[in-house]
């Protein structure tokens, strides 16, 4: 059973130094925050739980099911981790999974690990958490809330992480924005479906065997205030503002250009890109909108963190 590479683990050489370092910094910050949060929760069981769960998730990523013509669906596990141990611990768990994958199995680069951790551990977890909590609140603790939260949360998390990866590739000049982002989004829309279905199956199993594992972690989630609505409003505004705000449709390309001026051996790639490189994908505004959406998700994640810091509720 040879370990097969995934579609979201970016190898080394695909991200520019700036992008790689930027996301290393971001990831380090957020993971440090998560460590502090988890350490403060005064729960000594957390350590064995996280360690064993990380192992289970990594191993669980090898579970597959036949899709069609030889392809198979797999699990990332960020949503499951979030549901089972909560967002902060889940960030740590997924960080370990991503790190081991890169270090031992070369699935994902070492320089690019900051970005991969950000995509899968941070975005994957925070988007899962956002969606899951919202649905739990809406359903007022009803069963369907868990299931809907798991399904929609899993799909959204994969999509968001994929968009971020596409964004990083575009920012690095490796792939043009109007190809990378829609391509990533498109491919992972299907992969996200697989993730959603597997997560649903897992939650169904857990609900019937150990429902306490789900309800205990959901207690803390349901008592939240309306900070989510604020975050969501900001997100929606951004989604509409981004295409308007960028006077040049190729906003991302300008950023890539500017990196070229800093001359770190990554000369700008797309100064002269025609608008219609690939037939059918003809809207660079689309790229900016999608970039905006990714920005929203990042913002949501950040507001999550701020909320946690303010309230410091423990599980």
């Amino acid at each position: 059973m040879w370990y097969s590479p995934r579609s979201m683990h970016i190898p080394d050489g695909f991200l520019s130094i700036l992008v790689a370092v930027l996301f290393w910094i971001l990831s380090t910050l957020i993971v440090s925050l998560a460590i502090r949060q988890v350490s403060q929760e005064r729960d000594e069981r957390k350590l064995p739980v996280m360690g064993v769960l990380a192992a289970a998730i990594f191993a669980g990523q090898m579970l597959n099911f036949a899709v069609a013509g030889g392809t198979s669906g797999h699990l990332l596990g960020a949503t499951l981790a979030t549901i089972i141990v909560g967002p902060w611990a889940a960030i740590l768990v997924m960080t370990c999974v991503v790190a081991i994958q890169a270090l031992i199995f070369q699935d994902g680069g070492l320089l690019a690990m900051g970005a991969n951790i950000f995509n899968m551990a941070v975005i994957g977890v925070s988007v899962s958490f956002l969606v899951y909590s919202i649905l739990l609140k809406i359903s007022k603790g009803n069963r369907w809330g868990y299931y809907a939260g798991a399904v929609i949360g899993a799909w959204s998390a994969i999509e968001a992480a994929a968009l971020a990866a596409g964004l990083q590739l575009a920012l690095s000049g490796t792939s043009p924005a109007n190809i990378a982002i829609p391509a990533m989004a498109g491919i992972h829309a299907l992969i996200g479906l697989g993730e959603a279905l597997i997560t649903l199956g897992a939650i169904t199993f857990i609900m019937s065997t150990r429902p306490d594992l789900l309800t205990s972690s959901s207690q803390a989630v349901r008592g939240r205030s309306s900070l989510w609505i604020v975050g969501l409003a900001l997100a929606v505004i951004l989604a509409f503002l981004s295409p308007l705000a960028s006077t040049h449709p190729d906003g991302l390309e300008r950023v890539a250009e500017q990196q070229g001026f800093i001359k770190l051996a990554q000369p700008s790639v797309f100064q002269l890109i025609p608008d219609y490189i690939v037939p059918g994908i003809n809207n660079t505004t689309l790229a900016t909108i999608i970039a905006g959406l990714v920005g929203i998700l990042i913002l949501i994640g950040v507001s999550l963190i701020l909320y946690h810091l303010r309230h410091k509720t423990h599980k």
Partner: protein, 270 residues
């Protein structure tokens, strides 16, 4: 089964294997950094780095074929960079025109694409070299030296300990499922149930794995308690790196740095 292969390589006794894990980590990361910083089309530099890698592989008694085979993992991701070939600005090689759509393959684009591929491939080789010559505990030690928080390192360590157990459980789960995936001789129907059903079953397997792992973690916690665990994570003191080895590391990293600067100067990017 392939995990046995990894362990097998890590237990070998070449000079590279015996080198301090921290030194290896820093060096390999520097190599990867250099790969990324080298300009496009810098073939002499690529070949130089490749030779260094091959030399190190030979020094560590690793099987070159094994390393090369594993390095092919990076290939699929190159698809994302494929559009680079179609950059319209450089001197073009081939131009296709279908209806109203023009697609050009440019020389510059091809060069850029292959350079990216080479650099990425070199990085993977370096990473394989690191993984194959460094035991996991050494890696943990290296992480600690780089000031990785103790909690994270502890989770890492526990994860590693249970990883192989989990792999085996997954293998048994999949074998059990396979053993019940049969065809009824009398009725040649379409096998496999619906896609959703298959996904759901896989989910159940994941759920079962997770629930059991959580229950196992409770037993692990009890064992930890029995050995005096009180919530505080302590680790052994890290021994200092030998000065001779440190000197070599500095020289090696300086060499890489020099390579990058010189290559960039020569290729006009600086």
């Amino acid at each position: 089964m392939h995990l046995h292969i990894i362990d097998h390589y890590q237990k070998m006794k070449s000079p590279i294997h015996r080198l301090d894990g921290r030194v290896k980590l820093v060096f390999i990361v520097s190599v990867i950094l250099s790969c990324t910083l080298l300009p496009t089309n810098a073939w002499p530099a690529y070949i130089l780095l490749f030779s260094v890698m091959v030399a190190l592989i030979l020094l560590s008694d690793l099987n070159i074929a094994y390393v090369m085979k594993r390095s092919l993992l990076v290939l699929p991701f190159l698809l994302t960079a494929l559009p680079l070939i179609f950059r319209a600005s450089e001197p073009s090689i081939i131009t296709y025109t279908v209806d109203k759509i023009t697609i050009t393959i440019s020389q510059g684009g091809l060069i850029r694409f292959t350079s990216l591929g080479i650099k990425s491939w070199l990085s993977v080789i370096a990473a394989i070299l690191l993984a194959s010559t460094t035991s996991f505990t050494e890696l943990l030690l290296a992480m600690r030296s780089l000031k990785t928080p103790r909690l994270l390192v502890a989770v890492f360590g526990l994860m590693w300990r249970y990883l192989f157990l989990m792999f085996e459980e997954v293998e048994r789960l999949m074998r059990a499922r396979l053993s019940r995936s049969g065809r009824d001789l009398s009725s040649p129907r379409r096998l496999g149930g619906s896609l959703m059903w298959r996904a759901g079953v896989t989910g159940g397997m994941a759920g079962s794995l997770f629930v059991r792992s959580l229950e196992r973690s409770e037993r692990v916690y009890n064992s930890m308690l029995a050995r005096g665990y009180d919530g505080e994570i302590r680790s052994l003191e890290e021994p200092p790196i030998q000065s001779g080895v440190l000197l070599w590391l500095i020289i090696a990293v300086a060499g890489l740095f020099l390579l990058v600067i010189v290559t960039n100067l020569l290729m006009g990017s600086l």
